[in-house]
């Protein structure tokens, strides 16, 4: 199988500009890369290097000004609002720096939440329930399933976020600084959890991070500086 065949994310000569007052900022400069299905990928670099912008483009939250972005064999440039929402729902999972759990829902409901945006048959509902229970067990929050997010620690909340990101069985999970708001112990636990999920489910995890632990265990590390790729290294499996 060639590299192209297993590629799940492709950036080809992508440029992105932002307006900052009267100044035009060239946030991503002619970036090209390809990520393999099932990889544990880290985008690292200092603040303002363009890693969050790239992650936003992968998540179809932003679009490139020039060049093409291909996600799961679909060119995202020029997709309609509804198609983007569908792609996000079916192909992508998100883990946010501030966890972003819905405060009025309990842990089970928070994890279940993305499933409510799609149609489910009775059979699928039953399967999904089992899947949610499996995820809750895997992230170690069985005793907390009826609790609200504000009753949980930061590490526990991020574990809920991981489970929520995986509930729709997406091909790609995007995590924007997932350990930035956690202590080192919780960070370690979360990274291990994500690595486990990556191995068990074959889901591609893409991070933007400063965390050296993530960079260390990543299969593929892309380092950015001033919107350009300065290194693109794949570790040998």
């Amino acid at each position: 199988m060639s590299l192209e065949d297993t590629s799940i994310i492709e950036f080809n000569n992508v440029n992105k500009y932002y307006s900052l007052g009267k100044t035009k900022v060239h946030a991503v400069k002619d970036v090209s890369f390809s990520l393999k299905k099932g990889d544990f990928v880290s985008f690292s670099g200092p603040s303002g290097s363009g890693k969050s912008t790239i992650l936003n483009m992968v998540g179809c939250i932003d679009t490139s000004d020039t060049g093409t972005v291909i996600i799961d064999k679909k060119v995202t440039n020029g997709l309609k609002e509804e198609e983007i929402t569908k792609l996000r729902h079916e192909t992508l999972g998100f883990i946010f720096q501030s966890f972003n759990l819905i405060p009025v829902l309990n842990i089970y409901e928070n994890i279940e939440f993305p499933l409510l945006f799609g149609k489910q048959t009775e059979e699928e509902k039953k399967e999904n329930k089992e899947w949610i229970n499996y995820l809750i067990k895997t992230v170690g929050l069985e005793e907390w399933r009826e609790h609200k997010p504000n009753e949980l620690s930061g590490g526990q909340r991020q574990r809920v976020a991981v489970a929520r990101a995986l509930v729709t069985k997406p091909s790609i999970v995007l995590a924007d600084e997932p350990t930035a708001n956690l202590d080192s112990k919780s960070s370690e636990a979360i990274i291990q959890l994500m690595k486990k999920m990556n191995k068990n489910l074959g889901t591609t995890f893409v991070f933007s991070t400063h965390d050296p632990t993530i960079v260390e265990i990543a299969d593929h590390v892309i380092t950015l500086k001033d919107g350009e790729i300065v290194s693109n290294l794949r570790h040998q499996q």
Binding site: R88, F117, G118
Partner: protein
Amino acid sequence: MNFSTAKLAYRNLKLHKSKTLIIGVLITLNVAILVIGSSILNTLNTGIEENYVNKYTGSIFISPTDNAEPSLIMPSFDSDGANAVIDNYSQVEEAVIKINGVSDTTGQINAAGLMTIGENGTGFGIFRGIDPSDYQQIFPEGLNITDGSFLKSGEEGIVLSQYVYDMLNSTTTEEIKVGDKILLTSINETSGTKVREVTIRGIHQYDDDSIDISLICFIDLENIRALNGILLNTETSLNLDDNEKANLGAFDEEALFSSESDSLFSDDNLFSDSSDSLFTTDTEDTLDISTDDIYNILGDTSQRDVLNTINEDAFSYMLIKTEDSANTKSVINNLNTMFEENGWDLIAYEWTKGAGMSAQLADVISIVFYGILALIAIVVVIVIMNTLVVSISERTNEIGTMRALGAKKNYIKNMISLETIFITIVFGIIGIILGVSILGITGQIGIQATGTFTKILLGGDVFIPRISGSSILLSIISITIVSVVSSLYPVSVALRISPREAMSK
């Protein structure tokens, strides 16, 4: 929209208690004010309607089309200042009574004038010319005779109102008594000044203290027609043929009465010394003119006598009572269609059109009340809108997360709309309960009217507001509109939130 959206909307409202409460209190107060105000207005309007329809106006009245300002209280004139009358009254009445829904009719003639009694007694009043038996049959509740008696059929005379009686009494040294004669003077632009002496037959008093109603005195038809100059002097009465009508136009005033020597009645022609003048000044000649000669000169005066006869088939208005007040509008439509088909220059109106100031005051109050409510509604919309926008901006991260996780814009719209609907339903019901409770308590004790004006408005000394279903329905409809309108902008703000908002925090 599904159960989970509703659950989420409900929990969001619970989480943001203070904002929910601010919006809720506003909705509650708005609905309560609407229920109370609208019920009071309905009670007022129903009271005034019952009062007027049963005592003064009937449900419908018919007026000549050329009546410039139809009023069942004040005198009525056409655009030329002449009395506007229905001059084929019997024929019209016969046709009107056959219309489905009409239960009874009576005629009415209005006038206003001065009154003189004794040496110094003076006053003024509104004269209502009626057929006593017809009138008492259609308005049995309207008459409260305090002295003497009401007019009898065919009897000449006047029944003074207590107010007018007091006015006259205050200006004369001798007390006015039933049976006294009183001089009535009416001044009309076309028929001139008319004076009639009539007998005071009784004194009556209306419950209504309003000035226009309290001036009404009842008078027999012959006298009111004479005072108003309602005579048979119309072209229709004369039945002139085309030739006669053409001759009428052959002479103008200039030709007949100018001072030019060749005018018919010039001094030269009438009094010149020449032997052929009409009245020669030659005293030596004896005028040998008999009464017959004078009549011959004057010609046939029978036509003139006819012209000066009172038109006994003319009324200013026809008042109509309907079998069911709910059918008033359809009866009016049927009447107007019939007038059009018959080529009669008549028009049927609802009672309010001619009911005078008290009845119209209720309309003015309604307009002012609903105007104030509209302003309150605008303020409520702005406050709800503002509170929702603040609430949504606080939830930017949450909404952005939902969008990132795959929520369509429709889902967000439904969630915000459901939140508004929940608040509206819950606090709308509380508002209705509050309004109904206040009305219930007020209904038990009543609102005491303190001044004349309030008494007129409230239709008596104690006002007991009734809870009306239409007020509750109106409140529900208006608060639904308020909630929908106030959620439009916040929903549009929520829909503009991008998933990027979730990523950036």
